[in-house]
Structure formats: C-alpha cells, structure tokens
Amino acid sequence: MLCSKMFMFVLMALMLMVSGCATYKTRVDDTAGKATMYEDISSPGQVAGIGVESQDITSMTDKMMRDMLSSPALAGRNVAPRVIVDDSNFSNESSSIINKSMITERLMINLNRAAAGRMVFLERQAAAMIEKERTLKRSGVVSYGTMGNTAAPAGADFQLTGRIMSLSSVSNTSGKASRYHQISFKMVDLETGIAVWAGMYEFKKTAQDDIIYR
C-alpha cells in the first residue's frame, strides 16, 4: 500500500517533468496570423503610442474645418476668397515623426467639400503641372480647354500656415512617458500679412510601458 503511494509520488514528479519538456518551441515562427479588420479611424487603435495618431488627425482637422467655416473673415465674404491649404508653410518642430500632408490634405479636402463655394482652393503644389499644360496650349501643341483661358494662374488671398510642437517628459521610476502636442493653424492674408483666422489643437497623452521595459 505504502509502496503504491510512493509510486504515485514518483509518477506525479515524472509527469510534471515531462509536461515541462512539452514547452519546447521550434525556431521557426509558427504564430497564427490574424485576419485583417477595419478599425474606426476616429478612435484609438489596438496599437497605440503617445505620438500623433489617426484619431488626432481626424478630430483636429474636423475641429479646424468647423472653426474656419464659422469665421466671417474667411467664409462670410461676398466674393469667395482664394485659399492655399498645403504643407509648404506647415512646419513640424515636434518629436513626432509625421507626414504633415496627412493633416493639410484632410483639412483642405473636407473644407473644400463643406465650404460649398464659400472658399475657393488653389493647388499651388501642382504649379509645375499647370504651367506645363498652359505652355502646351499656348504653343498650339494641344487645343484650348472648354472653359476659356486666363492671363495667368489664379493668385491667392490667404494661405494656411501652422506649426506642430511638442513637449515630452519621461519618468524613469514609473516608466510613464507623456507628450503634449500643440498644433497651431493660421490663415494669413497674402497681401497684408494679417492673420485673419487662427486655431489651435492641443492634446497630451501619457502611457506606461510594462515594468519589463523600464
């Protein structure tokens, strides 16, 4: 009887040892994949950090768009002003690596759609393309378009300028990292230099990495 109990002890010990061996992994990465799924661009995704992310870009551009459309100096004029909204005067001084065009393109496209003629947008970054076509038309290589000609490409009344700035802080004891972003937007009169509209978007994110990375 006692002998059987002893045997059970030994058997259990061996089973434990054998089950330990079963955790061996081959060198080939055989992790199962995950099917693609769409995520809401206006909410934090499954992978998030403390930099500028999709939800920041969408809410920032939406807010700026609404603000600009409610500004009489911009959207309440009798003659729709010509506006340049691109990244040529939008500078990134922050510690977040970002493609600035993601902000200015979304802003311009949404403004263009929502303004419904209250503002006219110039695509100055396509100047070379426009100049090439104008030259071809005027040299007779191609015919004129159906909408007539102008003496020169349209001049602008306003241009968007802006800056992305950030202030980061790290606490080594808690492993917390936080980054405050301040993104400023100004619409500048290209004749007088007056900033007819200005807006700002701010956010601060804090995250704490797992203790094993601190």
Partner: protein
Amino acid sequence: MKQFSILKFILLLILLPLLSSCASVPDVPPPDPGMDAYIADKPQILKPAFSRLRSEGRRNEVLNNMRLGLAAYRAGFKDIARSALDRALQGIETVYADSESAKQARSLWYEEGMKDFKGEPYERSMAYYYRGLMYIEDGDLENARAAFKSGIIQDSFAEEEQFRCDFALLIMLEAMVSQRLGNVEIAREVYKELNKFRPDFSAPSDANVLILIESGYSPRKLADGPGHAELKYRRGRNFTENRVQLSLDGSSYKAAYPMEDIDFQASSRGGRQIDKILKDKVVFREKNLAMGSALSEAAEAAIILAPLANIGSANAMGSVQAVAGGLAVIGALQQYIAINAKPQADTRYWDNLPDMVHVALIKTTPGTHSATFRFTDEKYLQVPELAEKKVTFQAYDNKFTLVVVKSR
C-alpha cells in the same frame, strides 16, 4: 498484484524515454523551402538578416528589423533600410500595457528574454539616429529632427516635467538640423545643451558637409551574477581603433571629434526595474533549492537510521521509511521547481552597431571632394590591420551633404 507491478514498470519505461528525448531536440532547423522562396529575391548580403527576421518571429521582430535596417543602410539598399527601421520604431513606440509576452517575462518560469524585444535605451536611440540620417539624405529635415528628438527622449532619465539626456550625438544632430531649418533660437538652445557634455566641440555654423565615422563593434550584453540575473555590458571585441583622422582633398590629417561612445551609453544607464524581478526570482530559486536539499537530506538520514533506532515493530519502521520516502520526493520536487525558475537576464542585443561615432562638420566649396580616413588608437597610432579609406562626395551650397563611413 504482480500484474499491477508490471503495469507500473511499463509506465515508468514509457515516461523515462520521454524525459531523455527532451535533450535530443535538434537545434538546427530542418530545410525550409518556404524560407528559401522568401529570401530568393532579397539582396545576397541581406539574406541572413531577412532569414532571421522571418524565422525568429515577433519576439525578435524589433531586434531583427534594427539589424536588417542597419545592414541595408550600409549596403546602400535604402528602401529596405527605411521600411525595416520604420517597423523597428513602430515596435519601440508601441506601449506594452497588457501583453502576453510581457506577462511571461515577469513570471517565474520564463526568462526575461521571452518578452518582445524593444531594446535598451541606447539601442532605441540608435534606431532613431539611423532613421534620422535617412531623413536627412531624403531632404526631410523636419522629420530628421523629430527622429533625433525621439532618440533623445529614449535616453532621457530625469523625473517628471523635464528630461535630460547625455546622448551628445543626437543633441548635436538636432542642433545642426534646426540650424539648417532656420530655427536659429532652437539651434542655439540645443547647442548650449551640447556644450554641457562636449565643451570642446565647435562647428562652423554654415557647415554644409557632415561626416560621421563609425568605429569598432557593438557593445555586448552579458548575464552575470547568481542565476545569471545581472545584465552587464562589455565593450565590443576584436578591434582597437577608437580615434579617426581625416584628410580633406589631400590636406593634412586632422582628428575627427569623438562625439559618442556607444558602449558608454549602454553601460551608464544604471539599474532597470526588471532587475528587481530577476533578483526575486534568484531568491526564490535559492530558497527552494536549499529547502528541497534539506528535505532530501533529512529523508535520506531517516531512511538510513530507521533500522538502527529502536522504534518498535517492523510496521512502524516501515511507516517511518515511507514518510521519509515521501519527504524525499517532496524535496526533489521542490528542487525541481527551483531549478525551473528562470532568472536569466535578457542578453539579446543589436550586434551590428558601432562602438563609437566620430564627427566632422565641414564648410567647403560646392563640387566634388574627397576625404581620406585613418583609423587609430587613442594615441593616434594607426591600427595596422586597417587600411586608409577614401570617400568621394558632392558638396552643395544650398543642400546638406551627409557622409557616413565605417572603420570595418
């Protein structure tokens, strides 16, 4: 009864070979046609890096992307380098708040190396450094500066609202890029910061060529101390150069400024919080080993001494021996559990980093120029096995030229 004994014997016979087979799992992976197909169209020089990236999976994804990105950058495969380093930075910036691998790395039964690799601060900073250099080469100075600033944050060590960092190379690059962008005030402030760490460094404010010379091999990580739970850094091996002289267009040799010692950056960070967890694992292991050993010894003594002591009937003596046998099994189990605790520190490291980075900021006339590099020891005696290197580059008035050279 006899049949039962035979059954036990057979069971033991089945279990024992299973144990012995644990030791015979081959370490060399079998031929892998899938892998061969995957790396077939990759550049020859990068095939080993691609192979590791593919086979080592998510746990080493950041590490292998760092290795691949740097190898590709040096070999001139800039597109591969960009995407590999971008993936590495994505991994670095991901906040691991609730990850399974992080949980495992904290547990007693897994080594720290089970966690997804994000690198120590010097490795993360260097990933941003190389990505920043590529942004400079692409003419995107704003994102270059963002990369250098992010690298600085990785190295920061101060509390609360402010951060300080002594990664002079990144500070210098942030200052230089800010100057090129026309942010004079920012540049002045950052140069002031640099001056605290490198008071003898000066550079022409209108420099149009930046030469970065990398010497030696990467610092190494070693697991030391009881249970190999202490992470130690050692300077890379098999090189002696740690100074560089350069001659521009055949002029006399001048010393490049030794801006950053990567080994110093690695080894001067102090303790990590995970070290406390590893230390606790060592304590657990040692305590249980000692207790298990004591139980086994006591059981052994009881079994030996029971027949000699006058404890009554044979039945009583049998009981003592059975209890002793049980204690021996518990002791063995406790020792088994103890030796299965894994306190080893994570020694994976970015192994194709340099040991030092030297800097020369030059203002020169637009056109083609050549620079010759001589690699020396600290006393400026040329390292015999290293031939001089000559590099030709174009300088511009309105554009920054970046030249990166490696000693080996």
